[in-house]
Symmetry: C2
Subunit: 435 residues, 2 copies
Amino acid sequence: MASSKLCASRTELKVLGPRPATLTGRAVRSSRVQIIRRRSSTVLCSVAPNQVESPAAQTFVADVPKKTECFGVFCTTYDLKAEEETKSWKSLINISVSGAAGMISNHLLFKLASGEVFGLDQPIALKLLGSERSIQALEGVAMELEDSLYPLLREVSIGIDPYEVFQDAEWALLIGAKPRGPGMERAGLLDINGQIFAEQGKALNAVASRNVKVIVVGNPCNTNALICLKNAPNIPPKNFHALTRLDENRAKCQLALKAGVFYDKVSNMTIWGNHSTTQVPDFLNARIDGRPVKEVITDSKWLEEEFTERVQKRGGVLIQKWGRSSAASTAVSIVDAMRSLVTPTPEGDWFSSGVYTNGNPYGIAEDIVFSMPCRSRGDGDYELAKDVLIDDFLRARLKKTEAELLAEKRCVAHLTGEGNAFCDLPEDTMLPGEQ
Amino acid sequence: MASSKLCASRTELKVLGPRPATLTGRAVRSSRVQIIRRRSSTVLCSVAPNQVESPAAQTFVADVPKKTECFGVFCTTYDLKAEEETKSWKSLINISVSGAAGMISNHLLFKLASGEVFGLDQPIALKLLGSERSIQALEGVAMELEDSLYPLLREVSIGIDPYEVFQDAEWALLIGAKPRGPGMERAGLLDINGQIFAEQGKALNAVASRNVKVIVVGNPCNTNALICLKNAPNIPPKNFHALTRLDENRAKCQLALKAGVFYDKVSNMTIWGNHSTTQVPDFLNARIDGRPVKEVITDSKWLEEEFTERVQKRGGVLIQKWGRSSAASTAVSIVDAMRSLVTPTPEGDWFSSGVYTNGNPYGIAEDIVFSMPCRSRGDGDYELAKDVLIDDFLRARLKKTEAELLAEKRCVAHLTGEGNAFCDLPEDTMLPGEQ
């Protein structure tokens, strides 16, 4: 399996050997010049070694790895000492992204590099996972990141082996998944993608940061997240999320439209359950301008019958209009989901995320990944929201989406180490406009 | 010609009539609820009028236009009085974007909405220009903007008539242009696109802010910008820019790669002249870590022969790798170009922009649009950089790109009001990977 630091042209070089023992900490940021340890890897490079001039700055330590080991503008050694004197950079955050050559990533990576999630004083490293089919496109993405000159983007590496790309990842954004082929049932999709997420879970377990935060976007994302966490026993299950933030955002927008208010007035919007048509956008607990939605929107028929459908149809309408699925707004929702974990949740509000159900206070079955209302202190962790109302109407809907997730779990028992799979999913509950 | 405020579903309504005389200023931000004055327009709406509940907040003035006049979440009236008490919003900036359904815009619009250019306390309105062919896709873009819940994005409107979409524009980002058809020469492209930019210049002249800043991206961008400014005699010619910032960014990256330094060390990078293969990336004045490039990169053969080619080939390599042209990094460079005009240029540095040559100190022919080094105090305006060296090698190259721009100008004399066109462009100087 090949992996390469970001580079641009065709010079190919073997990278062998461990990190030089003489390399010391302070003057050179170790994570930048670290040589990826692997038996045999290909590095594709922008310039051949004999084309590289000596560095301009004279403060570099003498014993950094030779330029033959790493190329591309993100492999250049920067002058850390000067930086330390003038700015107080935080230490680099490693972010791994799968499906990195796809359209969602094409929006997301530039948002991450611009500082939208972690702020303007937080340098980042992007570690991009593609496939053999997409590796050329991924080089193109990396070239565009080079040409964007983002000061916060200090490293870009690309590869097709999750055991290399997830190395030391503090965030893993798992976007890549196989799209559903013609005639494929949800069960088939669960199996195919489940295998990918089982492998990626194992890889995270082996090489990622012990406190890596994982956001699963590839569908069926709840059960993929469950498979992933089951295959990563050394990472807290609490750290795995299935993305339901786009559903939350769409639900807020539809309530704002119906109430005739700007969307910033809508709060406490929960998406409960599965990222599928059984999901439950919760109008019982949501608020508009601080007031319960039902006080503001008195058309209960609309709330009970139309609202959910409007949220769910959004993706399908978008495909009709725009000719492709919602890459930009999905990327925005991933940024929102990450930011919700690294900034304190406003007093009284919450956000939705598909998280592990063990210990939940809502009476939802344990040991599945279910979207629920969360709050964070901004430390990357979260707790489940208190003061949540559940009436009979909501309870019945929660039961339905819970039943679906339990059925999906039985479909993938062979991938979670729980015996033989038994798959009985009567309905196709894929959301319109998703693959 | 149809134009519509952003909306999502299929209810169609006529919007007739002027703005109500009873509408007063303070409590309702007038630009939000303004009815676009036109004889006959179509508004496509997310919800039918009878589906809209009363607003939740009770502070709205009673006589705002009825909800039948405007729909979509960006048409909701927000509670300005409450906002004034709690936050100090700046007044709305109107940004018009042509080619708004295309891939460059698909990246750019979300960057603008996120506050990347104007900051996190600056609300914006996006006025999106599409074509009859792209208007459905443009609705899709607007829906994704709705679903992104950007707090700074207060208005989105879409249309196909520049006289409507450019109304009160303070920024006009002219991205849309016809791609070159099979066998079409640069002269043919100049004529076809020149007509578009002549019309858009007239529209800007008629309806935009008197101090609108115009950035032309559609190719051939220098001459398109010239045509545009000639057709807008009431707007200062100084306000028109042709985008050469992607070339500048790529040039910085290539110098950084060659010198083995991080790209933030490269400054004073000028792209001179035309956005074509005659452009001149200037290694005489550029600096690496404050030192002249030629002191750091002593391989003068590389500088004189390879550097420019590397910058120019970048777009072509990207198409090979990625299968499409550079939308994301182009959008980044547009953000950079705008930000360079609204933030003070760092002491001693400058940025490149294709601007009107009258009064330039470099001996470049007057009355063309030529990329030159600029500095800004951050007020939207700029001055040309002083202390720029020009040696014989650079002078000869400036002459060549100047000659090309003068020839292009003769090709479009019929569009600039300067008599009959005479077109004699021997070479195809389109940059690789551009259309």
